[in-house]
C-alpha cells in the first residue's frame, strides 16, 4: 500500500517542487539574450510602453528583455487555436474525445508544434522592436533572438507542465501569477505611485487599495467557486441508490465557467484597438474627441471592455460546454436529468441552464472590473490602471484555483490520515 502513495507524492513535496520551479523560472528572467547588450535602456522603455507591459502581464513573460520575454504567450495562443480547431473540425474533435489518451497526446503534440511556430513569428516582431537598442545589428541577430526566446518559451512550457503534473496547481497559471506579483508595484498608476509620498493622500490611497483588493477577492471567489447543479440520475441509481447518493450526483455549472479566458480575450482585443486607433493618422473627429478627453476615454474603454467580456463569457462557455455534448454523454451513461425527458428537452434545459449561469458569471466579471473605478470615484482617488485591474483579476482567479487544489489535497491527506 505504501508503494502506491509514494508515487502520488505528499503535499509538502509537491509544494516544495512547485516553489523550486517557480524560483527557477524567475531566475530565467535575468538571463539576457546573447548579443542584446543595451538591456537597461530597453528595460526603462518597456514599462513605460504599456503594450509590452500588457503583453507580459497576460503571458507571464518577463518585463525586462530576457530569453523568457515571450513567456507562455505563444503557448496560450497555440492552445486557443487548437481548441478552436477541435470545436470546428470533426476530425480534431474525434481525436480529443474518442481516441482516448493517444488522441489527446496527438492534440498536445499539435499544440507544441504550433507553439514553436508562434514563438518564431513573435520573435521576429520582437527583433524588430529591439533593433534600435542593439549596437551592431545584423541579419544573424534575428536568428539569435529567435532561437533564444523560442527556447526560453518552450522551457517555460515544459516547466509549467512539470508543475501541473508533479507539483500543485496549474503550472501555466502559477507562472503568470508570479510574473504579475513581481510587477506588483507597477499595478498602480505611475503618477499615484510617485504621489504616495504625500502623506494625507497616501492614507486614503492605502484604504482604497485594501478595500479594492478585498472586494475583488470576494467577487472573484464567487465567480470561480459559485456553481449551480444539474441533478443527474443514472439507471443504476434507480435500482441501488439511496437518497444521499442522488444528492451527490450532479453536473456542476460554474458561474465563471470560462475562467479568465474572456478577460484575456477582451483585453488583447482592446490592446490591439487602442494601439491601432492611436496610430491612425487622420482619425475622425469623434475618435479625436474621445482620445483627447481622459474621462471619455475611460468610459469608452470600460464600456467596450464590458461588452467584450460579456460576449466572450457566453461565447467561450458555450464552446467549452456544449449542451449537445452533455446530452450525448448523458445518453451514453444511460443517465437523465431529473424530471426532464431525454432528447431535445434535455438539450434545451442544459442550454438554458448554462446561459443562466454564464449570465451571472458575466455580471460578476463586470463587477470585478468596475469595482476599482467606482471605489476610486467614491473615495476621490486615482483609480488603478486598467492593465493593473486585469492582472489583479487574473492573479485572483489563479490564486483561487490553486487554493482549491491545495485544499483538495489536504482533504485527501486528511482522509488518508484518518484511516
Amino acid at each position: 500500500m505504501k508503494k502506491a502513495f509514494v508515487l502520488e507524492g505528499p503535499l509538502v513535496l509537491r509544494l516544495f517542487r512547485t516553489i523550486m520551479i517557480l524560483i527557477f523560472a524567475r531566475l530565467g528572467n535575468y538571463i539576457p539574450i546573447p548579443g542584446i547588450t543595451e538591456v537597461e535602456s530597453f528595460y526603462e522603455s518597456s514599462f513605460r510602453n504599456t503594450s509590452i507591459y500588457n503583453l507580459s502581464a497576460l503571458s507571464g513573460g518577463s518585463n525586462v528583455i530576457s530569453i523568457l520575454t515571450l513567456g507562455l504567450g505563444p503557448f496560450f495562443s497555440a492552445s486557443l487555436a487548437v481548441q478552436f480547431l477541435v470545436k470546428l473540425y470533426p476530425a480534431f474533435e474525434k481525436l480529443q474525445n474518442e481516441e482516448g489518451e493517444e488522441g489527446r497526446k496527438t492534440i498536445v503534440r499539435y499544440t507544441r508544434i504550433l507553439t514553436v511556430l508562434f514563438c518564431i513569428i513573435e520573435s521576429f516582431f520582437l527583433s524588430n522592436s529591439l533593433r534600435s537598442f542593439v549596437f551592431n545589428w545584423n541579419s544573424i541577430s534575428y536568428f539569435v533572438v529567435a532561437a533564444a526566446v523560442t527556447t526560453g518559451s518552450l522551457v517555460l512550457v515544459w516547466l509549467s507542465e512539470v508543475i501541473t503534473e508533479r507539483g500543485i496547481g496549474n503550472g501555466s497559471s502559477l507562472l503568470i501569477l508570479i510574473g504579475n506579483l513581481s510587477r506588483f508595484r507597477f499595478l498602480i498608476n505611475k503618477d499615484d505611485f510617485d504621489s504616495l509620498n504625500v502623506s494625507s493622500q497616501s492614507n486614503l490611497y492605502i484604504i482604497y487599495i485594501i478595500i479594492t483588493l478585498v472586494s475583488m477577492l470576494i467577487f472573484s471567489t464567487l465567480s470561480q467557486e459559485g456553481a449551480r447543479k444539474i441533478p443527474v440520475v443514472s439507471a443504476k441509481q434507480l435500482i441501488d441508490g439511496v437518497e444521499d447518493d442522488m444528492r451527490r450526483s450532479y453536473i456542476p455549472i460554474r458561474f465563471g465557467q470560462a475562467g479568465v479566458v474572456p478577460i484575456i480575450f477582451s483585453s488583447s482585443i482592446l490592446l490591439f484597438l487602442t494601439t491601432s486607433i492611436k496610430q491612425l493618422p487622420n482619425a475622425n473627429i469623434a475618435t479625436r474627441v474621445i482620445l483627447d478627453s481622459v474621462n471619455l476615454q475611460q468610459i469608452f474603454y470600460f464600456f467596450t471592455f464590458l461588452v467584450l467580456i460579456i460576449f466572450f463569457s457566453f461565447f467561450y462557455t458555450l464552446i467549452i460546454l456544449s449542451p449537445s455534448d452533455i446530452a450525448k454523454n448523458l445518453k451514453k451513461m444511460s443517465s437523465v436529468i431529473q424530471d426532464t425527458k431525454p432528447g431535445v428537452a434535455t438539450k434545451v434545459y442544459i442550454r438554458k441552464f448554462i446561459l443562466q449561469a454564464s449570465f451571472v458569471g458575466s455580471i460578476l466579471l463586470s463587477a470585478l472590473i468596475l469595482i476599482p473605478s467606482i471605489l476610486a470615484a467614491a473615495l476621490g482617488v486615482h483609480p488603478l490602471s486598467i492593465s493593473g485591474i486585469t492582472s489583479l483579476i487574473l492573479s485572483f482567479s489563479i490564486i483561487n484555483d490553486t487554493v482549491r487544489q491545495v485544499l483538495a489535497y489536504r482533504d485527501t491527506r486528511k482522509f488518508l490520515l484518518s484511516s
Binding site: P252, I326, P342, G343
Partner: protein, 891 residues
C-alpha cells in the same frame, strides 16, 4: 543517449548478478561432497545465522548453491547460470522476463528457499491449479528435501486443510485462491476460522497475466437476492424488438450501447410506462441489448449444463463460477434461454491490483513483461529485468499477411496447414475463440487431416495435457484457442513422461476392467493398447509378465482405484515405492518411459530436421503479449521453429482500431480474394493499433487503480475494526463508547431543528424508538435544559438502561449478552460495508460529471467518498447500539 544510460544501469545490475553467480559456481565444489544429511543441516545453520542478525543477502550465494545441488540430486536438474541470475532478480523484488522453456519453476525455488529461511511464508502464485499442483509436486520436493515445509492450496480444500497449508514455509497456490481466502477471512465470525497469516513475499508466475490482464477483474463474494426473473425476459423481448441504429446505437470500441429517442419511445410503448428512465427497466434493457450485440456464444461464453460459463479472453479457459456483474450475466442467460440466476449483492470485493500490494515484498516472472514495463513500475513499483537466454531463440517470425475477407483468410490458413502438414512438421494453429477453433477444425476435417482440438469445451479441455504432449510429434496438427499459451510446453517429438503416464493409465484401467470382467483375455488387452508400438516384440513378454503381476498385486479395487490413478499422475524416477504393487508400477513406468524417451528423441531429431514446430496465428489479440505467448510455443530452448499470422480486414482489431490509411489502401489496391497484403507498413499499422489499445487499457487500469485506492483504505479501516471485534472478549467498554458517541450525534442533530418543541420531541422519539428506553421521557423536562445538560441526561439514561439490559439478558442465560453483542456488532459492520460497496460504485459512476465544472473527478471522488464513509461509520455505531438496546423486542 538516454537508452545508452538505461542499458548501462541494467547491465550494472547484471554485472553484479554475474559476480554472485561466479561465487555460487565456486561453491559448487564445496557442496558436491556433502551428504544429503549435511545438506539438510545447512538449512538449520542458515536459520540460526539469520536469527543471529545475518542478513539474507549475505547468505544468498551459499543458499542458491545449496538449492542448486539439492535440485540436481532430487530432480536431476542443475540450475543454469542464467537461472541463478533469474533467482537474484526475483530476490531483488523485480520482474524477471524469461523466455519459454527456460525453466521458470526451477528459478522460483531459489528466492523462495532463501526468503523462507527467515521464518516468513513465501507464496508462489500460479495462474491455475494444475500448475500449482504440478510445481509443488515437482520442484517443491527440492524444498522439502532441504527441510522446508511445502504447502498447496486448491479450490476444493476445506478450512482445516487451508489453515494447515498456509502455515508452511513455501505455499503454492493460485491468485484467485489467495484473493478469495483474504475476502473470506474478513467475513468469518470467529478469529480461529481465519486461514491466512500475513503477506510477506509473493513470487507470481505469469505476472503479466495476474497483475495486468486480470487487474481489472475484481474478486467478488456475493450473496443471492430475490430474483426478478420476469424483468430479464421482458427486457430480452424488448431488445429483440429493437433494431440497431433505429432504436439504439452501439459503441464497439467501448462496448457501450445507448437508446435513442425512438428506442425509448418504443420501449415505453411496449412496456406501457410513461418514461423508462423513471423505472428500473432501463438498465435491464441496456443489458439485454449488450447481450445481443457484444456477447457471442462459443466466443465469450459457453452454454453448459443449462448454465452460462464465461470464457476468459486472455487464457481461453473457462472461468468456473465467475459471473458478469450488474445484471449482464442474467441478461445473457435470458438470451440463451437457460435458467436465469438470481441477482446478487456484493458482500466483499477486491482487485488483484490492491491485493498484491499487501505483500511486503513482491516479484514475478513471465515471458512477456517488457511491453508493460511502464505499468509495472508505476503501479506496483516493480522493475523488469531480462534474464539472458540460455540458448538462442531460433524461431523465424514471418511477416503478417492480411486478406480481404474472412473467407479468404480461412482459405489461406487451410492451404498453409496442408503444405506444412505435408512436410510432416508439427503444426499449432492458434485461434481467438472456441467458434473459430471449430471452424478450422471443420475445414481440416474436410481434407481428412487428423488433428486435435483444444478449447474450453469440457470434452476437449479434459484432454489438454495429452493433446499438448503430442503436439510436438511428427505430423501432428493441433488447433487451439489461447489455452495453448502460458505454461504450455510443447516438446518436439513428444513428451515422454506424459506419453508414459498415459500408457500406464491405460494399462491400469484395462486391468480394472478385466478384473471386473475376467473374460477379457490378456492378449486382447495388450493389443488394444493405445501406443502399441511401445510394446515391441522384444519386451512384450516383460510387459505381459508385469501386467500379470500387477493384476495379482492389485487387491482392493474400489478403494484403491483413485489412489492408483494419482500415483500414476505423480510418479517419476525418484519415486520411493512402499509396497509390492508400487514396486511393480514403478518398474512398469521405468520400462515404458525408457522406451518413450528413446522414441521421442529419435522423433525430435527428425522434426528438427524438418524445421521444428510451425505456428499459425489466425487473429491478433488486443494485446501484443498474447500473440507473443502463442509465438513462444515454437522455438523452445533453441529448437528451430517458425510462426506466421494470417489476418483479414474483417478481423475485429483491424476493422475497429486501425487508422483510415490501411483501409483506404486496401480499397485502392482492389485486391483479389486470395491476394494478401503484406509488408512492413501493414505489420506496423497493426502493431500501432495494438499499442493504442494497450495504452487505452493501461489508462483505464491506472484510473481504476487511483479510484480503487480510496476504497482500499476504507476496506482496511473496516477490516481492522472488524478484527478488533473478533479479538475482543468483553464488549462492554466498546458499546458504552458507541452509546456515548450516539448521544453526541443525536444531540448535534437535534440542535439543527429550529424550535424547542421539535427538539424535545425528537429526543423523546429517539429514546423510545431508537434505543428502546423502557420508560418514556417527559418532553417538558427537556425544554429547560441546555445542550450540555441534555447530553449528560441522555448519557445517564442510556448507560443505566444498557446496564439493565445486560442484567436482563444475563438472567435469561449466562453469557447471552456477550454473544448477542458480538453478533450484533458483526452484523452491523458487515451490513454497512456491503452498503458502502454499492454506494461507492454509484459514486464512481456519477462523479465523472464533475469534470464539466472543471473539477478533478478523482479529487472530488476522494472528498465525497470521505464524507460518505464518515456517514457510514457512524451508521455502524448507530445500528449496533440500536440492535443491542432494543434486543428484547426480538426475543
Amino acid at each position: 543517449m538516454l537508452k545508452d544510460i538505461l542499458r548501462k544501469t541494467t547491465q550494472s545490475d547484471l554485472y553484479r548478478y554475474e559476480n554472485i553467480v561466479k561465487k555460487i559456481n565456486d561453491l559448487e565444489r564445496v557442496m558436491k561432497p556433502l551428504t544429503n544429511e549435511e545438506l539438510r543441516a545447512k538449512t538449520l545453520g542458515f536459520r540460526k545465522s539469520i536469527e543471529d542478525g545475518q542478513s539474507i543477502d549475505n547468505i544468498l550465494p551459499e543458499a542458491f548453491g545449496l538449492v542448486r545441488e539439492a535440485s540436481l540430486r532430487i530432480l536431476g536438474l542443475r540450475h543454469y547460470d542464467v537461472q541463478l541470475i533469474g533467482g537474484c532478480i526475483l530476490h531483488d523484488s523485480k520482474i524477471a522476463e524469461m523466455k519459454t522453456g527456460e525453466g521458470k519453476t526451477l528459478v522460483a525455488i531459489l528466492p523462495a528457499y532463501l526468503n523462507a529461511l527467515s521464518g516468513k511464508s513465501v507464496h508462489i502464485v500460479t495462474v491455475n491449479e494444475y500448475l500449482a499442483k504440478r510445481d509443488s509436486l515437482s520442484v517443491g520436493r527440492v524444498l522439502s528435501f532441504l527441510g522446508l515445509s511445502v504447502g498447496l492450496i486448491l479450490a476444493d480444500m476445506n478450512r482445516e486443510e487451508r489453515q494447515e497449508n498456509y502455515k508452511c514455509d513455501v505455499i503454492y497456490t493460485t491468485n484467485s485462491e489467495l484473493g478469495f481466502d483474504y475476502l473470506r477471512d474478513n467475513l468469518v465470525g470467529n478469529p480461529s476460522e481465519k486461514v491466512q497469516n500475513g503477506f510477506e513475499f509473493a513470487i507470481i508466475d505469469e505476472v503479466d497475466s495476474v497483475l495486468i490482464d486480470e487487474a481489472r477483474t475484481p474478486l467478488i463474494i456475493s450473496r443471492s437476492l430475490e430474483t426478478l426473473n420476469n424483468i430479464y425476459l421482458t427486457a430480452k423481448n424488448v431488445a429483440q424488438a429493437f433494431e440497431i441504429n433505429t432504436h439504439y446505437e452501439i459503441d464497439k470500441r467501448n462496448r457501450n450501447v445507448y437508446l435513442n429517442e425512438s428506442g425509448s419511445k418504443l420501449a415505453e410503448k411496449l412496456l406501457g410506462v410513461s418514461s423508462i428512465y423513471k423505472f428500473e427497466t432501463g438498465t435491464y434493457i441496456l443489458n439485454a441489448i449488450k447481450a445481443k450485440e457484444f456477447y457471442t456464444k462459443d466466443k465469450d461464453y459457453l452454454v453448459m449444463r443449462n448454465q452460462i460459463t464465461i470464457v476468459d479472453e486472455f487464457t481461453g479457459r473457462i472461468l468456473k463460477g465467475r459471473r458478469w456483474g450488474d445484471g449482464l450475466h442474467q441478461a445473457i442467460e435470458a438470451k440463451e434461454g437457460v435458467t436465469v440466476g438470481s441477482e446478487t449483492m456484493t458482500m466483499a470485493s477486491i482487485t488483484y491490483q490492491n491485493f498484491f500490494l499487501f505483500y511486503k515484498k513482491l516479484s514475478g516472472m513471465t515471458g512477456t513483461a517488457l511491453t508493460e514495463a511502464k505499468e509495472f513500475k508505476k503501479i506496483y513499483n516493480l522493475s523488469v529485468d531480462c534474464v539472458p537466454i540460455n540458448k538462442k531463440v531460433n524461431r523465424i517470425d514471418k511477416e503478417d499477411v492480411v486478406y480481404k475477407s474472412l473467407y479468404a483468410k480461412w482459405k489461406a490458413v487451410l492451404y498453409e496447414s496442408l503444405s506444412i502438414h505435408e512436410q510432416g512438421r508439427p503444426l499449432l494453429i492458434g485461434t481467438s475463440n472456441v467458434k473459430n477453433s471449430e471452424i478450422v477444425s471443420g475445414l481440416l476435417k474436410e481434407y481428412n487431416i487428423k488433428h486435435s482440438l483444444l478449447n474450453a469445451k469440457p470434452e476437449n479441455a479434459a484432454n489438454e495435457s495429452e493433446i499438448i504432449a503430442q503436439a510436438g510429434r511428427k505430423g501432428s496438427v493441433t488447433i487451439a484457442t489461447n489455452m495453448a499459451g502460458r505454461g504450455t510446453d510443447i516438446l518436439l517429438g513428444g513428451n515422454p513422461d506424459f506419453l508414459t503416464k498415459g500408457e500406464l493409465r491405460y494399462i491400469f484401467r484395462s486391468i480394472v476392467l478385466s478384473l471386473d470382467d475376467m473374460t477379457v483375455p490378456k492378449n486382447e488387452l495388450i493389443n488394444n493398447l493405445k501406443y502399441k508400438y511401445v510394446i515391441s516384440e522384444k519386451n512384450r513378454l516383460d510387459v505381459e509378465e508385469l501386467i500379470d503381476k500387477l493384476k495379482s498385486a492389485y487387491t482392493v479395487p474400489e478403494k484403491n482405484r483413485i489412489g492408483v490413478e494419482e500415483l500414476i499422475e505423480n510418479i517419476d524416477e525418484s519415486f520411493q515405492p512402499v509396497d509390492k504393487f508400487e514396486i511393480l508400477i514403478q518398474k512398469l513406468y521405468e520400462k515404458t518411459k525408457e522406451r518413450y524417451v528413446r522414441e521421442c528423441l529419435a522423433e525430435k531429431e527428425e522434426v528438427i530436421q524438418l524445421g521444428g514446430l510451425h505456428i499459425i496465428g489466425t487473429e491478433k489479440h488486443d494485446s501484443r503479449r498474447i500473440d507473443n505467448q502463442l509465438r513462444g510455443r515454437a522455438g523452445r530452448q533453441g529448437d528451430p521453429g517458425s510462426s506466421k499470422f494470417f489476418l483479414s480486414f474483417e478481423d475485429r482489431l483491424i476493422e475497429i482500431f486501425t487508422t483510415g490509411g490501411l483501409k483506404n489502401m486496401i480499397k485502392e489496391l482492389d485486391l483479389e480474394d486470395d491476394q494478401p497484403v503484406e509488408g512492413k507498413i501493414v505489420s506496423l499499422s497493426i502493431e500501432s493499433a495494438q499499442k493504442r489499445i494497450e495504452d487505452k487499457n493501461y489508462q483505464v487500469r491506472k484510473q481504476l487503480f487511483n479510484y480503487d485506492n480510496v476504497l482500499n483504505l476504507q476496506r482496511k479501516v473496516i477490516y481492522d475494526e472488524r478484527d478488533r471485534f473478533l479479538s475482543l472478549t468483553d464488549f462492554k467498554g466498546l458499546i458504552l463508547q458507541y452509546l456515548e458517541k450516539l448521544v453526541d450525534d443525536v444531540v448535534a442533530e437535534m440542535e439543527r431543528s429550529e424550535n424547542q418543541e421539535d427538539k424535545s420531541r425528537g429526543i423523546v422519539l429517539f429514546c423510545k424508538k431508537f434505543i428502546c428506553l423502557p420508560y418514556s421521557i417527559d418532553p417538558e423536562l427537556l425544554s429547560n435544559l441546555s445542550k450540555e445538560e441534555i447530553k449528560i441526561f441522555l448519557n445517564d439514561q442510556v448507560k443505566i438502561s444498557y446496564e439493565l439490559k445486560e442484567i436482563e439478558l444475563e438472567s435469561l442465560r449466562v453469557g447471552l449478552s456477550q454473544s448477542l453483542e458480538y453478533a450484533f456488532l458483526l452484523q452491523s459492520i458487515d451490513q454497512v460495508w456491503k452498503e458502502q460497496l454499492t454506494r461507492m460504485e454509484l459514486l464512481k459512476e456519477s462523479i465523472g460529471w464533475r469534470a464539466y465544472g472543471q473539477r478533478d473527478p478523482l479529487l472530488e471522488y476522494q472528498k465525497e467518498a470521505y464524507r460518505i464513509f464518515a456517514i457510514q461509520t457512524r451508521k455502524i455505531r448507530h445500528s449496533a447500539s440500536h440492535l443491542i438496546m432494543c434486543s428484547t423486542s426480538f426475543a
